[in-house]
Amino acid sequence: MKVSYYPGCSLHATGKEYDQSMKAVSRALNIELKEVDDWSCCGASSAHSTNFDLSIALSARNLINAEKDSMDVMVPCAACFNRFKMAEHHLKADKDLKAKIEGVVGAKYQGGIAIRNPIDIIYNEIGIDALSAKVVKPLAGLKPVSYYGCLLLRPPEVCEFENYENPFMLDKMMGAIGTDVKNWSYKTDCCGGSLSISKTAIVVDMCDKLMSAAREAGANCVVTACPLCMANLDMRPSSGLKLPVFYFTELISLAMGLDGSKETFKSHMFDPQPLLGQLQLI
């Protein structure tokens, strides 16, 4: 299949491992990615916290650019995904707002393409069987808890994510590549990402709580699908509590034995290589 691809700012900087592994995995699963032309930032929480119209217009500019290619758009960053779904929701529900925003952006919004996150695309379009069929090295010994965070799931009428209080797609995928996924009740708890820089002390507490819960569940690592969750969980927990954190695509890439799959582990802030080495996975 072929989809539009909106990397967002994070995937070009702090989230570069997500971009690299997403591209490798997509290639291996025959998902062709076409980057959205001349995209700009979605505005994230800074726009919607301070100026509603600005937040819708910044997202609309990108959706309108993506519409030119008439394909579903894959949005790997949970924060961007949430902003796009939110803009779509408001633009479809409110005609006056739509007219106003089209005036601001200077182009028409059609609303004809689906905004999708990669978990949904891989799980529902490629499927668990096709994914397991490509595994050459099951990741035995790795015990992740899957962490979905907030912005992929909430609010549910906007995000339309399956089983939003106890999601399972990521867990199933991690099982398919041979890991021993641990169950826990913090899958959808917030990690505090949006205040990571401006209110660090509160966020350290939130991350510590998540890491303690992951340890209690018997996990030796955490899997995420959001560059902001990654940055936060990789840097903010207190040193005694830290666990390696992976993008789900990095682990899929490793299990499929794709070229360059070991490279992205080198740039994590909390080095996952000792754990992977000890389990003879790298």
């Binding site: 700012c9 994070s10 070009h12 900087a13 702090t14 570069k16 001349d38 995209w39 700009s40 930032c41 505005g43 994230a44 929480s45 800074s46 726009a47 919607h48 916290s49 301070t50 100026n51 509603f52 119209d53 600005l54 217009a57 910044l58 500019r61 409110d94 005036g103 601001v104 952006v105 200077g106 907030c150 912005l151 799931l153 909430r154 609010p155 549910p156 939003y164 209080e165 708890d189 917030c190 505090g192 990402g193 949006s194 205040l195 820089i197 401006s198 209110k199 660090t200 509160i202 939130m206 840097m235 080198k266 740039s267 802030m269």
Partner: protein, 175 residues
């Protein structure tokens, strides 16, 4: 004259706050409620009581993370996350400003970054935030490590059609 409640409801443009029956489910699931001056459902009560200055001046509205847990679990679909956005915007527009100054400064540095290049250049945005907030020394131990790992690339490509981005800021009257 419009009451504070009417004003907020109009801006939320959805389920009116009177639908709340104070079951406190929102507060029970809110990850930052324990750090807030007033709990999320208390803010609704205060709006109903017309306590405009207290609400707009509170740290609560800035400590909301927009995690959307409250609206997800509210039995009456009261959109507290949206309410917090509306209150922040009202605090800025009415000149009350932000009780949590650095949080607003972070947002301003972030938006200035988009206005400048269309995309966020993380090191530039952080430098601007640090200058604006005077918070120069936090994260000094993290930044060099990130730099060495190639995470803070100094040259991320800009959006080409910057005119369209600047227009969006112009026409939505950025703060």
């Amino acid at each position: 004259m419009e009451t504070f409640l009417e004003e907020v409801n109009k801006k939320i443009h959805g389920v009116p706050l009177q639908a709340c029956y104070h079951c406190r489910k929102c507060t029970a699931g809110c990850p930052t409620a324990s750090h807030m001056e007033y709990n999320p459902n208390k803010v609704i009560k205060m709006i109903q009581n017309g306590q405009r200055d207290k609400v707009l001046n509170s740290s609560t509205i800035w400590l909301c993370l927009s995690c959307e847990t409250c609206i997800t679990r509210c039995p009456n679909q009261v959109d507290i996350a949206r309410m917090m956005d509306v209150l922040r915007q009202m605090a800025i527009e009415s000149g009350v400003g932000a009780r949590e100054k650095n949080i607003l400064k972070f947002h301003q540095a972030f938006l200035a970054g988009i206005k400048r290049g269309g995309r966020i250049n993380e090191p530039m945005m952080m430098a601007q935030y640090k200058l604006m907030s005077g918070d120069l020394f936090s994260d000094v131990t993290i930044a060099p490590g990130m730099f060495l790992k190639g995470k803070l690339s100094l040259l991320s490509p800009r959006t080409k059609d910057m005119k369209s981005v600047k227009n969006i800021f112009e026409k939505t009257k950025n703060i």
